[in-house]
Symmetry: C2
Subunit: 239 residues, 2 copies
């Protein structure tokens, strides 16, 4: 007989499903991934329960999945190029941004005031979540999650290489050159979250092309502009 979930676990499971896009098998890994050491939990054998070991595991999985992505994506890239691109993708700053945009902090149990945990907790729990996915469902689920949240949304080799410095600039320039009317509708959209968020809708010739949402106006606009870029890639390339 399967034990029914407590109300709290039920809500956690439902939130996780939305985030992960699959159903977790063992909630314990995810609880651990969101438990800060300040909670001082221990398991039945006396080992501490917190996200630090899962963070180590997730970091390793992230490194492997990104290596495999780059190997396939950049067949002309030397070992040095692959190493450099990977460091940019898995930089502390980038991981913190990913954790913040997913608002993972909402799940964290900690005895320290959220204002005092520092910025790195966002990246750390993002890595711990990857570790939890690996333990719960294995490498392929882990790879899929990283593809969706790290690679599709954030990785752009052209931009990382410095070829494109601003998608917003690129989109505006293209619209002006091709006599298209564009609008960036940017507004604060924090909702119930603890960290301030902004949303943006980009329309071209009156048609909404893409939306973005992030922790700063600039990031949200870049994210939405990048989506416009990929949506209109062929038209932009022809012009």
């Amino acid at each position: 007989m399967v034990k029914p979930l407590s109300q709290e676990d039920g809500i956690f499971l439902s939130d996780l499903k939305k985030l992960l896009d699959f159903s977790p098998k063992n909630l314990d890994y995810y609880k651990k991934a969101f438990t800060h050491r300040s909670i001082k939990l221990i398991d039945t054998k006396g080992n501490p329960i917190n996200y630090e070991r899962l963070e180590f595991l997730g970091d390793a999985m992230l490194g492997a999945v990104i290596a495999s992505y780059l190997y396939k994506k950049a067949p002309e890239g030397s070992e040095g190029y692959l190493t450099q691109m990977r460091s940019k993708i898995v930089s502390r700053e980038h991981l913190n941004e990913l954790g913040k945009d997913l608002n993972l902090i909402q799940f964290v149990k900690s005895n320290i005031d959220q204002a005092n945990v520092g910025d790195n907790i966002h990246g750390n729990i993002f890595e711990a979540l990857i570790g939890a996915i690996y333990m719960d469902r294995g490498y392929n689920f882990c790879q899929k999650f990283i593809n969706v949240y790290v690679i599709t949304d954030y990785v752009d080799l052209d931009k990382l290489e410095g070829k494109i410095t601003s998608y917003k600039g690129l989109i505006i320039e293209w619209c002006q050159k091709n006599k298209k009317k564009y609008s960036f509708d940017t507004y604060e959209d924090t909702g119930n979250e603890s960290v301030k968020h902004f949303s943006v809708k980009i329309s071209i010739d009156g048609e909404q092309i893409a939306k973005g949402r992030a922790t700063s106006k600039k990031k949200a606009e870049e994210q939405a502009s990048k989506r416009v870029f990929f949506t209109l890639q062929n038209e932009i390339a022809e012009s």
Copy 2:
């Protein structure tokens, strides 16, 4: 219609099967894993063919598989402990030893004299081979290969932690304490290989318990002693 293999490829495939314990699907990855940059090969798109990119990929996979092994094997180990143990397992010295013991250099195509390629080539091609396995057959095959060749044969957390400094010493001490006759039969056993090898057979009370083979007498004896230790683990623990 499948193109028949050249004689050279047929021999390579048969050697690889013995080494890998599974059948490779795409020989090209393995050929690349054993091609040194001095060969100056390029593919149809002008990209260089050598093992350096596969080495990057294999290094990442090795890191991930070892992280997952340690996470499960040492539930009491902190993030710091896991990190430290992993660095020892994937140290340059250790990887060179693994590559040498598998005699991977026999497959290498290079325009540089073997005497001048340096010691690190052994570890580099070991990593490249892991990268080739990943590209050819995916993560699970990769993990299995690492389990057999890195973990079973070489990893011993007690020894890496410094708790056991010599298995040979431990076995001799145990035999003396328990009045057992022991013999180490150590001899040169290079065969057709390019690097000198030694073999050892360890017998206790006239019965052969384990064999070892490595590139030095000391390593072969430690390897065989470790196997004796794991074979007689219960008896040794009781004494």
